[in-house]
């Protein structure tokens, strides 16, 4: 457990509890839950409250308490989780999760949200719970240290207490042992204990020890207070007769004892001999599992079982997946090590090649095994970081609730593929872009109910958020059944903002892509929801920085779909190693759809600067990677190069011309952004087997060099004024 503070464990647990809470509340809201669902929600809140108190999180505990009280009423059917209450329960869940987060990050809480939600909850609370003193029913209990000396006037005359103590039968039945209490008293000072055995019947073998025959007279010399001494009997005051009286300095014994009385002084550590030989200590009764109170084992066995014994459910019924919690940092260290391992593997491969060993050499075979193992380890390690998108989707459900509440629109939120696993970083970093897109979808996409009804649609709009794995990538789609993109308007705005020329002849895809142009916003006036000064360009930047792509499809009146394609991992990728102007570079294989050795007759020039490739009856722009990256133009004719066909977002396809392809291999991604900032056309770097650094090309960035070229004009006329290629 080292390295994991209790606080960390608490917040980890809170995450699980928050998930359970959200799951349960969602089930309650959509009516798929049962009575156990309410219980689970209650337990989650209850556990958060219980553990939160240990960390002095008063806001959290106070809120959880109110929330729990309402849930308890739902649980006991005093309240119905109906359309009035359910939204408040959902909101309370959100607030509670926020409070946990605020506590974890030690940030300010949104007191207004807490207060309004508390007020809303209060309306459902039973009357007695609204009284102010109820506030104190759950108080973090801070106990005084019992054996600390308390100075006081009485100290001068009072040396301690005389205690008489007679346990009743029930005392023993609930597992008490008078010996232990006496030992506890012994901790407070020095003791003189006198057991009164006078009530023990003559027929000792046949008597029931638990009939309360025994009583004790105790002289306790202690500076402790009356309260502290009485606290020792806190659990048993209803199970025994006990009196605690101050005792003078002379400590005179006021009551005589019978000749049978056994006297034992309990040392201060409390681990002394029992007060009477008849009371068996644990050591005496070793092997006898019913240790504790002095009792006749035979009688105990004969006693009827108390209450029905619940039979435990079968083990299979509650078999849970065994999990192990690991610090993220440790996983990341491991991932870094795996990255180094892969680099090391390519170094070894290079060395073997340099040594001139043949492919059939044993060492080559071993190297292949090594590669397989390295890949297996890498995949295994990546799997550790993989997390289901469910929490992310649940957060979006919350956004939908907030936005629909603010806009008054009716929206049904559907999620598909919640179990799809992606890298943890993706889950975290997708939150903002998705939030923005969901807001947009409701704010701009979904129409008002009346408009929808007029258009013959269901008054309630649908937003579907889905995730799936598709050919080594993760595909996340946000689909709405709203009005669809208003392309005329998009173009008008783009023209107005000077993003495109008024006479530009744009394809549907090109118009849609304008949404991602910096500074573009379709909202007529900035609403307080989606229009927060960030546009879809920020979303696009966020997705691109994760190595992903974003696309739109939309049909008027039917709705829009935004598709985000992301790599499964951010640490390693399959790359095509190419040479360009004597530099080695890497192009992500995921974006390469085809490699071509072109024929001269397929290459056309569009104007003087824009070569295009004719392929299967289509013309696609050719980008010389070297030129695009700022190398001086070389006189290698295009037909002697190799073309990599890549699919990009801005234009459907583009041919990247490179000098040659040398290899295809896994490369470890090393970010450059920390040191060099964002470089158009370059996404990161990697280390090759020979120890050299190679840049990883961002095909989208490269393609953007020609993106402004209106492909719809091909091959009719040369470039428009907007199509100056941007040289880096």
């Amino acid at each position: 457990m080292s390295g994991n503070s209790i606080r960390d464990i608490f917040f980890q647990e809170c995450e699980d509890l928050s998930d359970a809470l959200t799951d349960g509340l969602n089930e309650m809201a959509d009516g798929t839950g049962d009575s156990e669902t309410v219980n689970a929600v209650f337990r989650a809140v209850h556990s958060i409250k219980g553990s939160g108190g240990a960390f002095g999180l008063e806001d959290l505990v106070g809120f959880a308490h109110k929330f729990e009280t309402v849930l308890d009423a739902v649980r006991s059917h005093e309240l119905q989780a109906d359309d009035n209450l359910m939204p408040i329960l959902l909101r309370s869940g959100d607030v509670l999760i926020d409070l946990i987060e605020a506590a974890r990050m030690e940030t300010e809480i949104n007191q207004e949200a807490v207060d309004t939600t508390l007020a809303a909850l209060a309306e459902f609370l039973p009357d007695e719970d609204q009284e102010p003193e109820e506030e104190f029913s759950f108080q973090p209990m801070v106990l005084a240290i019992p054996d600390v000396a308390v100075s006081g006037a009485e100290e001068d005359t009072q040396a301690g207490f005389r205690i008489s103590f007679t346990p009743a039968r029930a005392f023993y039945e609930v597992g008490n042992d008078p010996l232990h209490l006496i030992a506890a008293l012994g901790d407070l000072g020095s003791l003189e204990v006198i057991a009164d055995l006078s009530q023990i019947p003559d027929d000792i073998d046949n008597s029931d020890w638990e009939n309360g025959y025994l009583s004790w007279d105790i002289k306790l010399e202690t500076p402790a207070t009356d309260e502290t001494v009485k606290a020792v009997f806190g659990f048993v005051e209803d199970l025994c007769t006990v009196s605690v009286h101050p005792m003078g300095t002379n400590g005179e014994v006021l009551r005589t004892t019978t000749p049978e009385a056994a006297v034992a002084a309990i040392p201060e550590n409390g681990a002394g001999e029992p007060p009477s030989p008849e009371a068996p200590s644990k050591q005496d009764s070793e092997g006898d599992k019913s240790s504790g109170p002095p009792e006749d084992p035979a009688k105990t066995a004969a006693k009827p079982a108390k209450g029905p014994v619940k039979s435990p459910p079968s083990a299979a019924a509650r078999e849970a997946k065994a999990t192990l919690r690991v610090d993220l940092e440790r996983v990341d260290r491991l991932i870094n090590a795996v990255g180094e391992l892969i680099i090391n593997q390519s170094v070894i491969a290079q060395r073997i090649e340099d040594a001139g060993l043949g492919k059939s050499d044993d060492i080559q075979v071993d190297l292949e095994d090594y590669k397989h193992l390295a890949r297996e380890i890498q995949e295994g390690v990546m799997a550790i970081r993989a997390q289901p998108v469910k929490p992310l989707f649940q957060r979006m459900a919350r956004i939908v609730r907030e936005v629909t509440a603010a806009t008054g629109k009716k929206v049904q939120f559907v999620t598909v593929g919640e179990g799809t696993e992606v890298d943890k970083t993706l889950v975290e970093r997708l939150s903002d872009p998705l939030t923005h897109m969901i807001r947009n979808a409701i704010d701009h996409g979904i129409e008002e109910s009346e408009t929808r009804v007029r258009a013959g649609k269901d008054p309630e709009g649908v937003i579907q958020l889905s995730a799936e794995h598709r050919s080594g990538n993760v595909l996340i789609e946000i689909m709405d059944d709203g009005a669809g993109l208003n392309r005329d308007r998009i173009k008008a705005i783009a023209v107005e903002k000077g993003i495109v020329a008024e006479d530009a002849d744009l394809s549907v895809t090109e118009i849609d892509q304008l949404l991602f142009a910096p500074g573009f916003s379709t909202a007529k006036e900035v609403t307080n929801l989606s229009g927060r000064g960030v546009g879809m360009d920020v979303v696009k930047t966020a997705i691109t920085s994760l190595g992903g792509r974003i696309g739109i499809s939309s049909s008027p009146g039917q709705g829009s779909t935004f598709s985000i394609t992301l790599p499964l991992t951010l640490a390693v990728m399959d790359g095509m190693v190419v040479t360009v102007a004597d530099q080695t570079m890497v192009i992500p294989i995921a974006s390469v759809s085809e490699t071509i050795r072109p024929r001269k007759e397929d290459i056309f020039m569009l104007g003087v600067e824009h070569p295009v490739l004719q392929i299967r009856g289509e013309y696609i722009p050719i980008v010389d990677l070297g030129t695009a990256l700022g190398h001086p133009a070389r006189d290698i004719p295009l037909e002697n190069r190799v073309f990599l066909l890549v699919r990009t977002e801005k234009i459907s396809q583009c041919a990247i011309a490179v000098d040659g392809i040398s290899d295809q291999r896994q490369v470890v991604i090393k970010s450059l952004e920390g040191d060099y900032g964002k470089i158009t056309g370059i996404s990161a770097a990697t280390i090759l087997g020979d120890g050299k650094i190679a840049l990883i090309v961002d095909p989208d960035g490269i393609a953007s060099a020609v993106s402004a070229a209106p492909m719809s004009q091909l091959p009719a006329q040369p470039s428009s004024p907007l199509t100056e290629p941007a040289h880096v």
Partner: protein
Amino acid sequence: MSIKVLAIDDSRTIRHLLSVTLGDAGFNVETADDGVLGVEAFQDADADVVITDINMPNMDGFGVIESIRGGQVNNRVPILVLTTESGDDLKARARQAGATGWIVKPFDDVSLISALKRVTGAAA
């Protein structure tokens, strides 16, 4: 020989708190994640004292107490109830089921150990 504590709580935080606090104090702590597992563990564990939460899945703390008190094994073991509610009715219910005492969450190590001491006599 150290005192063996069986701590039954569905909260990982509380289990950890108990393990650490009591472990540091010299107790031998075993934990179980819910009531059913707790009762199972109890049958194997030869515990000197049981600490159980009340609100738990599968079997609540009252169930745990009743099972232990109604069982054949070590049925007089001291059982402390761990609860956030300090309400008297809950104590009464726990007592009726056969609880020896109670610990109110959040607890500090002094009160926790003092409570254990009162029911086990442990010097720990």
